[in-house]
Every structure is written in C-alpha cells, then in structure tokens.
Amino acid sequence: MIDILKLRLRHGRQTVAFPRGAPRFPERFRGRPVADPARCGDGCAACADACPTEAILDPGRASMSIDLGRCLFCGDCERSCPPGAVRFTGDHRLAARSREALLVSRDEPVLVAALEERMRRVLGRSLKLRQVSAGGCNGCEAELNATGNIQFDLGRFGVQFVASPRHADGIVVTGPVTDNMRLALRETYEAVPPPRLVIAVGACAISGGVFRGSPVVSDGAEGGLLGVPVDLFVAGCPPHPITVLDGLLRLLGALPAADLNAG
C-alpha cells in the first residue's frame, strides 16, 4: 500500500490542462492543413498526385481546397511542394457538423457548432455513447479508448462510453463500414432510443479513408447507415484524443466559440 501511494505521488497529477489551458502537441504534430494556391506553379498538381486519398481538390486553382474528411495527415502533399502551397498547421480542431465544413483552404479554424438548444438541454450534462468499430484498424479505437484514461479523462465532462446501445444517446462509428459490419451497425443504431446522435470518427468513417472505393466497404458512416444523418465528423487518421474532446465539447456547447488556438 505504501508503494502504491509513493508511486501515486511520483506520477502526480496527469490530467491535461485542456480545456482550461491550451493543449500541447509535439513540434511535428500535423494539424489542420492550409492551401495557398497563390504559391502554386503553373499547372502543378504534385500535391494532389502525392496524396494517397485524393483529398486535395482543384490544385493550382483559386478554388483549391483540402478535404479533411479524406486527409490522412501523412504530410506527403507538404513534402511534394517546396513552395509551400500546402502546409500543416498545429491546429488540432478538426471536427465539424457537416461534410462541407471539412473542406478547408485558407488559414481559418474549423469550429463545431453546438447542438440546438433542445438537444443540448437533454444531452449537455450527460452524454452516453456506444462505440461501433466497423472496419476500424484499431487506430481510432485506441485513441477513443485513450480519451477515457487519466490524462484526457472524458468522464469529467459527463461524457462516457457505455456497454449497451440501450443506455446510449448516440453511436460513435469508426472504420469505413465493411459489408460484414453493416447489419450489426444498423441494428446497434436502431437499438439506441431517439433522440440519438451519430458521430463519425476518423477518415475511414467520414469518407472511407484509405479504403475508399474498396468493393467490400461503404466508404464510411453515411454510406453504411443510409438515410441516417451524421451529427458530427471528427477528422484525423486517427484523430488525437484532444481533437475528439474538442469536437465533443463544442457539440455540447461546453467550449466558447473561439478560443484556445493552438496556432
């Protein structure tokens, strides 16, 4: 017992300062990318050619943008572009309420809009989620698990992953939704009593990610749960636990609209 207490002292308080303080990331962390077509060479599409998931749209044109829902944050585009028309910032805020909001170009933050007042009243203080891995590689699953550890401690915000869909207010989908998981995903969703949320975490669940176009997947939660709207998209491959926290807390209206720029 003494040893346990001594170790407890040695480990100290480990919970991150976020959201009260700004989160800290390694120097090489790749957050939200920025496109600057003014720096593009004539007819150059090297970034788009290097991208494993066709996440760069209209390279070299004024309308150039990057689809965070497809982006793996691998950095291949940045390396392929010495002039710096594509570069990654350290901004960890990568979640949005709509697919369109994940298309980024200029250096502007992506911020999740809070749920409407009525939903927020119901779920704002206590949100229980059922996670369904539908072809996830265990990258997103590992980071979702990490949100519950003593560092990120999701529970302090009243958010919790639960065992039964009957106890849940929504589902969190990871993976491109394989054909072999489509039925189980649908049944889990339907077992959640309405009103219910659908949250897609990671490039696979948003767009199919690196598996996009495989004949045995549905290219994400929208394709895998046809007719069911997705309430929150959290981009990344996998998203950092802080990115997940940020998305969930903004959805619940627990974070101010603009603050904590990781810059």
Binding site: A134, G136, N138, C140, G175, N180, M181, A184, V217, C237
Partner: protein
C-alpha cells in the same frame, strides 16, 4: 526432403519461377517434412495462374534455427490433400484458400469459412453455399455441445468496450467453458486486393492501416519488401530509427496491455498508471514523426524524419524515464499476491499445443517456444544489435503478462541506446527504380504481437500481382480459443487481453 524446396532469406528477392512447383502429394509431404523437422509455417497462400487453369498454392516455411526460409508451390484446382489434417497450424490458411479460390482441403478437421469475403474466382463454393458473396460472419454452422445444463453464450460482434468486432460463441456447463468458437471477418476491408496492382501512392498508408496498433510493424514489412524488390537498401541511420520506432510501438502496446490486464482483475493503480505511461511511448513516436502511432515515419528507402543529436539524446532520456515509471507501475501488479493469483494458472496453453497451433510472438514465448524474428531472421538494425529473447514456461495469463514486462525492459534499453548512438548519414536512400519483374520476396518483421509476414509477388511489369499479408493474430486466434477450454467463462476478458489479438489484422 529439403532439397525439393527453394531456400531463401528474410527480405531476399528471388525469381518467382525459381520456386519449385511440386505435384500435390509431394508438396504435402515436403511441407509436412519441413514442419516435422522443426520448421514453422509462416504463410500458405494462393494466386491464380496467369496462363493456365488452377491456383498456384505457395508455402513459406521458416527454419528458425538456420535463419532460412523454404518455399514450394503446387497447382490446385478443386480438391487437394489437407496439411491441417496433420498440422493444425495450417488450418486457417487452408480455410482461406477454400474461401478465396474454392479449393477443398480434403481431410481438413474444421473446414468453415474464415472471413466471409467474396470469392476471388467464379467456382463452386467449397462450403456449398449458394451465394457466398452475400453471407456474413455468423451465418455459420456453429459447433454445439448438447446435454442437460449445457448452455450457449453468444457475444459480439459489437462488444461492451471500445473494441473491434468479432463473435464469440461459448459452450458452457455452468461457469465452465467446454468450447469457445471465434468467428471473425467483420473487419474485412479487402486490403490485399487494394495493394495488388501497386505499389502506388496509397500502398504505404494501406500497410499502416492493416492493424492500426501495428502501423510501424506492417509498414516496415511493406517497405522492406519494396526495397528488396527495387534493390534500394535503406541507409544505416534509417534502419536504426526504424528499430527505435518498432520498439516504441512494442513498448506502447505491451504497457497498454499490462494496464488492461490490471483493469480486468480490478487492480486500479497499475491500470491507471500504465494506461497513462502507454501515452509516453506513443508521444515519443509523435516526437519523431508527428503521429502517435508512427504513421508517416517510414518510406521506401528509409524514413521521412530525422532527429538531430540533441533531440535524439533528449528522446533517449525520455524513453528511459518513461520506462522507469511504467516499470514501477507494472511491478505493483506482480507484487500484489491477490492480483497475481488471478493471473496464475488462468488460460494455460501448453508448449506442445502452442507448437502445434503455430503460435508466434509473446504468446508463443510465454509457452516456452524460443522464437523471435529479430534474432532468427534478423533484419535491419537487428543484424547488428541483438535484443535478447525472453522466455517463460507457464503458458498462462501470468506468463503472457510477465513476458511483456521483460520484453519492455529490453525494448526500452534498445531504443534508448540506439537513439544515443545513431549512425551518421542520410535517412533515406536516393529515389529508387522499378521493382524487379516476375519476382517474389518474403518480408518478416517481429511486431509486438509476433511475426508479421508480407509476401510480394510481382508480375511481368513489376507490379504486385499478389500481396499476401499474415498478421501474427492470424496464427494466434485459435490459441485464445484453446486457452479458454475448461476455464471459467468469467476469465474470458483476462485471457482475451493476455493475447490482445488484432481483428483487422486477421480480417484484412
């Protein structure tokens, strides 16, 4: 007998046609002969022949003692004599052949679908299903035990925690588990098919996503295969950094598993502290390459990120410090008699059983099998730096936990030592040429779960005609099922965590 097979080494490119094609019976005898002589079945896979009917089935046997690989092929179409009838380690491979190509292994003791993936050629289904492309996991003839008070318990595919999907069917008498049947395939994303026709800009990201907790291990097996095929060896500094990344991945996962085991026996200090310590190793990977799982670090020809001397020294100190903390936290679990008692004698796999099933990695070493790709088929930095192999003989959850603790000790020392003595020079070889044509390479890596095998076969223009992936979990899932026999159903979470296998890696 061995003269009939082609001898090669880990990561050596050979001409595809140099692999001898033996008649069915001789192929069976040759492979079984290798296994009887101490060989281990690393891979057994099919590929349609380009110019003739039938499927070319190739076996890769690892002769661990000699550091060699032995290859042979045979043409099959319809039925072929099963290896699994004598060598259980071939059971999943043959079920895969049946599912993908409609080949029927005659005498297979457990011929059932493996992943419920659509067949790769239009022939009669080996399992007699009318529409094999439409069946999903679970539509399946489960083994059932009958008798008074015998009951069946079904769990999954969606589990209680944040876990990948799989279905577990227990046959129980009271608390006692008579039999556990594990049905997988829910995670099948078609990775091999997506890699075929490559390499292309997506290949590496796919390799990193075979099993996301083993992004470095699978990426390493992949780039190693490509480097061999292109004749483009990585510089020394890159091999050292790759070794560091592979050991950090091992540390993160092993420490995370120790946390999870502690959590499953309700021992919270280790669960909390090791759970947090795991992040120290993930964050160390992110210091190198920006991603906590080491994604984006490796590239064909080397690595994409370098560390200057100061940063490398700082990271080495960080790794040593993180391990000292994690070790103290894990030690609490092993020092607590009541926690230890829950692990001891639970889920025992005997050495003989581990050998017969062809288990790999910590699960094999916990049952006394002396194998580790880093030593037996040394690659990259491990040719120069030897990481001692750790063994136990209990074969139970305690042994599998203990092995992890000891392996972490070695991994932390190796990673920190390498960071302090990185070889000088570049971290990536100059841009390489095309891949060898009509060639074959077997690329083995000791991932944290055990042997990762990638077999790349190129076509006449140097593209992947077949890309076979064997995640260590593929060998080990049956080990978990057998570990539960005659155990208590309440011990399942503990047993499961002690193996901690990949669903995605199995389902591909």
């Amino acid at each position: 007998m061995s003269g009939e097979l082609l001898e090669t080494w880990n990561g050596e490119t050979v001409e595809a046609r140099a692999v001898p094609v033996l008649p069915k019976e001789r192929f069976r005898e040759a492979v079984l002969g290798e296994l009887r002589a101490g060989g281990r079945l690393s891979a057994l896979f099919g590929r349609p022949r380009a110019s003739a009917a039938g499927v070319l089935v190739t076996a890769v046997v690892a002769r661990d003692g000699e550091g060699k690989l032995a290859l042979a092929s045979s043409v099959a179409d319809g039925a072929f004599p099963s290896l699994a009838a004598e060598a259980p380690c071939a059971q999943a491979f043959e079920r895969e052949l049946a599912e993908q190509y409609g080949l029927r292994p005659e005498g297979h003791p457990w011929l059932k679908p493996l992943r419920f993936e659509p067949p790769r050629r239009a022939v009669r289904d080996a399992f007699g299903r009318a529409d094999p492309g439409a069946t999903i996991p679970g539509e399946y003839p489960f083994y059932a035990v009958e008798g008074e008070e015998v009951h069946e318990m079904a769990v999954g595919p969606v589990h209680a925690g944040i876990i990948e999907p799989g279905h577990f069917r227990f046959q129980c008498h009271g608390e006692r588990v008579l039999h556990l049947e594990i049905v997988l395939g829910y995670q099948h994303r078609g990775v091999e098919a997506l890699l075929e026709g490559g390499p292309d800009r997506r290949s590496l990201a796919l390799a990193e996503s075979i099993a996301g907790d083993t992004a470095v291990g699978h990426a390493l097996a992949h780039v190693k295969a490509r480097e061999s095929l292109a004749g483009r060896p990585p510089p020394a500094r890159a091999t050292a950094l790759r070794g560091v990344a592979l050991e950090l991945e091992r540390l993160a996962n092993h420490v995370g598993d120790l946390a999870a085991l502690a959590s499953d026996v309700g021992f919270l200090p280790t669960a909390s502290f090791c759970g947090a310590s795991r992040a120290d190793f993930l964050n160390a990977l992110a210091e190198i390459c920006g991603n906590r799982f080491g994604r984006g670090l490796l590239a064909p020809g080397g690595v994409r990120f370098d560390l200057d001397q100061e940063a490398a020294a700082a990271l080495a100190a960080r790794v040593r410090g993180a391990w000292a903390k994690a070790k103290a936290a894990a030690g609490l679990l092993f020092d607590s008699p009541s926690a230890r008692a829950r692990l001891e004698g639970t889920g025992t796999v005997s050495r003989d059983l581990a050998l017969a099933l062809g288990l790999v990695g910590p699960a094999a070493r916990a049952s006394g099998l002396d194998l580790d790709v880093r030593r037996d088929h040394a690659f990259g930095i491990y040719r120069f730096v030897h990481v001692p192999v750790v063994l136990a003989d209990g074969g139970d959850v305690l042994a599998r936990a203990w092995i992890r603790l000891l392996e972490c000790e070695r991994s932390a020392a190796m990673a920190a030592d390498q960071l302090e003595t990185l070889p000088e020079g570049e971290v990536c070889a100059p841009a390489g040429g095309a891949l060898a044509k009509d060639a074959l390479v077997v690329s083995l890596v000791e991932g944290w779960r055990g042997e990762i095998a990638h077999v790349a076969v190129t076509d006449a223009v140097g593209r992947f005609a077949r890309y076979k992936i064997v995640d260590p979990s593929f060998h080990n899932w049956l080990g978990l099922a057998m570990a539960m026999r005659d155990g208590q159903i309440s011990d399942f979470p503990l047993c499961n965590k002690s193996f901690d296998l990949s669903y995605a890696g199995h389902d591909l």
